[in-house]
């Protein structure tokens, strides 16, 4: 059974390695080209991948690890993404039968929908803390292009990650657990 903790460590390490590489490129390269207003939120992409493809007991721990490594690149910290990630993964677990990532357009669409859910959860948390609706509205206009880019990247990214997690189309890891 490949859903034991020891089986998850190596693919998780590779996933983290790719995640760190993408974050380094995103935080250093895009601003160097003058694109400092928009930064690609790769943490959302990776957490969504884990949520879509993994049903293991250790999923919240893995979300926490991804977010913890994300916090080295952002003062946002690990908390907001972990809360949003866990809530979304719970939601995905209930909707799993309805979610089919069988084609690229479907993957793009589903990723976009769940990114919107992520945006709503994080915005609600920020609003509770700041009470600033104008900031949320301004966030939304940044979210639109960033999330579209992430959604467009999703089919390719999921395909690459599937290779490391040794997953085939429509099969998720850890169903026996």
């Amino acid at each position: 059974m490949r859903s034991q903790l020891k089986d998850l460590i190596l693919p998780l390490l590779i996933t983290l390695f790719i995640f760190l590489g993408l974050n380094i490129a995103s935080t250093a390269l895009l601003p160097a080209f003058g694109l400092s207003t928009y930064i690609l939120p790769f943490n959302v992409l990776f957490v969504l991948y884990l949520g879509f493809k993994l049903q293991t007991l250790w999923l919240p721990v893995m979300i926490f690890i991804v977010q913890y490594f994300f916090s080295f690149f952002s003062i946002e910290g690990w908390e907001l993404g972990t809360i949003a990630g866990i809530l979304i993964c719970v939601l995905i677990s209930y909707l799993r039968d309805l979610i089919h990532l069988s084609s690229a357009p479907m993957t793009i669409l589903v990723t976009q929908i769940f990114q919107f859910v992520w945006f709503v959860i994080v915005s609600v948390l920020i609003y509770f803390k700041t009470g600033d609706m104008v900031y949320i509205a301004e966030r939304f206009w940044r979210f639109v292009p960033e999330s579209i880019f992430i959604s467009l990247m999703a089919p390719l990214a999921f395909l690459v990650l599937d290779k490391f997690w040794k997953l085939k189309d429509g099969v998720s890891l850890g169903e026996e657990v």
């Binding site: 760190l20 390269l29 160097a32 003058g34 928009y38 790769f42 490594f69 003062i75 900031y135 940044r142």
Partner: protein, 290 residues
């Protein structure tokens, strides 16, 4: 038996989800976006990963130079095909010299400006920006080893950039004045009106709490007031770019254009001795009392 096992696993799943969720929620509620503390492990990881960011920036600059130089070559070849080879070499040298000259001018300007300040300072290069566009934070290649301290002021010849929010031995994260978590006590230079400048949206800032009756006009310069013990007095913050003054209410809404062009920022100056030990002790005492 399978059902029993499955139920047990589900209970474990729920418990683990709940535990991490509650831990994250409590940590988020207590999170301080004004000053970040780093553990030994975090310091180690940041110090290990940031050289890679630095490398990516250097590579990008290198590729940019090659690309620009290539364009220069094409231009030269169009002008005189017979001298293309010779021109290519000359253009390369000219480009390199031009880059050096521009860098020299920029550094001279920075040094010349910083001589006006009595504080010790270090020059730093920007190696990355925050991974979330919700925060306007940049990472510089100077840390505690170079004398940088938490809350050290960061600036350029043009004006204020922000303060050091998170620090490791070789790198520091700077919370820029564009971030909504960074509030600068500002002063309109002409009228001496006080207000709080804070990040608002993208590259804009607002100045709050300026009384409606204050005769602010477009283009007025805003400088730091020195209050709050974070920034020294008299640093240029920006200029007034928009004023909304209603016929009612107590304050007016002022939009501020930062003095620094954050899109073109390459080097910054960190004032390392602005906060004296005495002031730090006062701050610590106040924090403990609160």
């Amino acid at each position: 038996m399978d059902l029993y096992n499955s139920g047990q696993v589900n209970r474990k799943k729920i418990a683990l989800n709940l535990a991490i969720f509650i831990f994250a929620l409590v940590s988020y509620i207590n999170r301080d976006y004004e000053l970040g503390q780093v553990s030994f492990f975090e310091r180690l990881v940041i110090d290990t990963l940031t050289p890679l960011q630095e490398g990516v920036v250097s590579a990008q600059q290198g590729v940019g130079s090659i690309f620009e130089h290539y364009l220069n070559n094409v231009y030269a070849s169009k002008e005189n095909i017979s001298l293309r080879g010779e021109l290519a070499n000359l253009e390369m040298k000219v480009f390199e010299l031009d880059e050096l000259k521009r860098e020299n001018l920029r550094l001279k300007e920075l040094l010349g400006f910083s001589e006006e300040f009595s504080q010790e300072r270090v020059m730093a290069q920007i190696v990355g920006w925050d991974a979330s566009s919700d925060f306007r934070v940049l990472r510089i290649n100077r840390g505690s080893r170079h004398g940088v301290q938490l809350q050290s002021t960061v600036m350029t010849a043009k004006g204020l950039v922000g303060y050091v929010y998170r620090l490791t031995s070789n790198y520091a994260d700077v919370l820029t004045i564009l971030d909504s978590n960074n509030r600068v006590d500002g002063l309109i230079q002409r009228t001496r009106s006080h207000g709080i400048v804070e990040g608002y949206s993208g590259a804009r800032m607002t100045m709050k709490y300026v009384t409606r009756t204050e005769p602010i006009i477009l283009g007025d310069t805003i400088v730091t007031s020195g209050l709050g013990n974070v920034y020294p007095k008299g640093l240029k913050v920006g200029s007034v770019s928009r004023i909304e003054r209603q016929s009612y209410g107590i304050t007016q809404r002022i939009e501020v254009k930062p003095a620094v062009d954050f899109g073109r920022l390459e080097e910054v100056i960190v004032l390392t001795s602005h906060l004296s030990e005495e002031l730090r002790a006062e701050w610590r005492a106040l924090d403990e009392r609160n």
